[in-house]
Amino acid sequence: MSTMQIENVSRRSFLQGVAGLTLSFCLPALAAPAAAGKTAAAVVPFEPNAFLRIGSDNSVTVIAKHLEMGQGTYTGLGTILAEELDAAWKTVRIEGAPADASRYNNLFWGPAQGTGGSTAIANSWDQLRQAGASARAMLVNAAAQRWKVPAAEITVRDGVVSHVPSKRRLRFGELAAEASQQAVPVNVVLKEPKDFRLIGKHAPRKDSADKTNGRAVFTQDIRLPGMLVAVVAHPPRFGATVKSFDAGAAKRVKGVGDVVQIPSGVAVLASDTWSAKKGRDALRVDWDESRAFKLGSEEILARYRELAKQPGLVAHQAGDTDKAFAGAAKVVKAAYDFPYIAHAAMEPMNCVIRLSAEGCEVWNGEQMHTGDQHQLAGIFGLKPEQVKINMLYAGGSFGRRANTKSDYVVEAAHIVKASGGKAPVKLVWLREDDMRAGYYRPLFHHTMEAALDASGKLTGWRHRLVGQSILTGSPFAAMVKDGIDAVSVEGAANLPYAIPNLRGDLHTPKDIDVPVLWWRSVGSSHTAYSTEVFLDLVAKASGKDPVALRLELLGDKPRHSGVLRLAAEKAGWGTPLKPGAPGTRRGRGVAVHESFHSYVAQVAEVTVAADGSLKVDRVVCAVDCGIAVNPDNVRSQVEGAVGFALSAALYGEITLKDGAVVQGNFDGFPLLRINEMPRVEVHILPSTAKPTGIGEPGVPPLAPAVANAIGAATGKYPGRLPFVTAELRA
């Protein structure tokens, strides 16, 4: 494993933490003058810290340490800095930071640089405000010196520094050279939220223009001089290896050059993508499957069901659960199954690597800078800092590019190495390669039991989970404590409801060799479903309204209650639903969940046809993510999360048959289409708390809200994802 020293970072400060954040007020300095992307016009630039460059042409460049993979991260990071700088938003441009964890580490990940866990804005909030305010102070001091007036008399707005009494004004660019001579202030005053002009207002996305005219550059678009394209033959089962191969036919394909064996298969290198694909398809590989994983999903699930009959390792407990069940007037039981699921980003995984005398250079939708640097350094015998990474836009990730084993990056490196490092290589995974490469959201089985007393009060709660660990054996293994992988049980172990006696336990099978990984919202992608759908069964059994029961159990959780009340009110909870077409059944369902320190409640309205097919008509969302840096982007993320989660609830499933992945493309793994997208309303709770995540938290409540709406409409609460519509027939 890499030498990445992030093992000691606690879970809270690692993936989710805003609590206990310690901020270094010593801002890292910008790189040596060789920093990329400088325009010729920007001579004598002002580079007060690692996050900002102001050119004499008035350009304001914010350096983003996090990947833009769709979540509006570049725009959000730019907004925070520009706010405190008082820059004119239209002059701000965003540039991806180089890989350098000494300056660009994720403050929630200790010394590692990377993007994930909905942390980009949250961990950058104080840092970028400080960076902007500090630069602003230097510009003000430079103006005060030039005009010989007190700094206190100087105002800044929209990139212009003014001294109103003497009617003098200078643009940032005109002060850049003098500002760079000023001392970096040790303490600066940050704005009061009431004075914000960009944060909480409307700052248009910085990537909209280039992403609507074809100019945005993704890894897939990179073409270097002399570059070869590699397409790889991968084994049909996880754990299989190359026994032998015949490259004869592949090499006869026009455009094909080298055919090389690598640890993960056989790579065909060609002058272009189509030739490489044709070469790969002509390749004959004999696989050694003696150590391959050969179980199917049904067999795995059957094993998990057996395991669930026995107690697992305790993840959380309170009170005396056995006593509560012994004295129960009524016991409610349910089980829930969740499949493996692929990320299926629209841009299949890919990576460009070039070896040079200085080291190696990577072009990638880079999500794990430090981990990838260490992996590549190991393969090429370099120092990590000799691995230069160009962070490009990623055509989606949803967790896939934050690979704990750097899988596709490592594969690209092995191809470069096996082909002698002669030419730069672009590794291209075709859709089928991407879908069958593993690193899925793990398959999980949950069982639930609730004890109700004679008055219908919920007195006991048992929750058992069975599924593979994502973190074991990864650089984040420190988050596995006493056999409990924190991300296996997140969302379940921190159940917000006040239930006097509860117990959650976990089985982590170690003999299932299917590569697994975080998938947008990680553990909450299944725990929110089991807990929230089961709670509706409890509500039904106790004759209580689902919203009322939740509010009753959320007594000491004001932020959960806040979003729940708002969503219920905006959705018209309690008012009758308009009937659907004859023969259809309609229902409304609710769910609330906290993930990544943000709180989201959703109310879904669903119409179920006589044949069991269903349409989600409307989803009302309420969100508390602290200060919404960019409210329109918060809405956009939650709208998208609704569609992403609905796609999973309706269709998302990777199936193994005898160990081989059945699905290969969007025919077998359908995604939600525009005609299936519900109306979505997003309501944001006003807040003065520091911003928390928004990339993921919209996902978890959707499937349970829809399932509860199905339950309200049909009386059947789906016990598995994706929904089996045949079970919902009238």
Binding site: R205, K211, G214, Y393, R431, L646, N665, L671, I674
Partner: protein, 152 residues
């Protein structure tokens, strides 16, 4: 050599006749705005116009478009409809990761070129073959309506 007309320019390319138009655009001509997503006309990210009609470039052999007019996202702004669509997309900040949006926009332009006042059902019919993993569909729909309004 196959003779093409791409974005109003004549091009001759020396590729196998079965090469999909997508890879000729991307790898031979360097027009990378058109994306690869599935290779089987299942996702629509490679949508271009051939003689004004939307086509999935990933399954269209280059020989099938010889002598026909191919238009890609790179020159979408050269038509009034294309410009209106791009402006609507920007006004509403439709994009997230952006990878599918060239295809979405080419699909929307084709729709609005035929139908200046599309209903939601018309939009569904025209764009249900264009997948978006970020699920920007709410805004795509709104942007098509906004573009229609600006063209009225």
């Amino acid at each position: 050599m196959i003779q093409l007309n791409v974005n109003g320019k004549p091009q001759s390319v020396d590729v196998a006749a079965d090469t999909p138009l997508l890879w000729v655009l991307r790898d031979t001509l360097g027009l990378t705005g058109t994306k690869y997503g599935c290779g089987q006309a299942l996702c629509g990210v490679c949508t271009v116009h051939v003689d004004g009609a939307p086509m999935r470039a990933c399954v269209t052999p280059v020989s099938a478009v010889a002598g026909r007019k191919v238009t890609t996202i790179e020159t979408a702004d050269q038509s009034r409809v294309g410009k209106a669509v791009q402006e609507a997309w920007r006004k509403l900040d439709v994009v997230q990761c952006g990878y599918c949006q060239s295809g979405q926009i080419m699909g929307a332009i084709a729709l609005l070129s035929q139908n200046r006042k599309p209903t939601d059902a018309d939009i569904d019919n025209a764009l249900s073959g264009n997948l978006c993993r970020c699920a920007t569909y709410v805004r795509i729909r709104a942007a098509v309506h906004l573009a229609a309004k600006s063209l009225a």
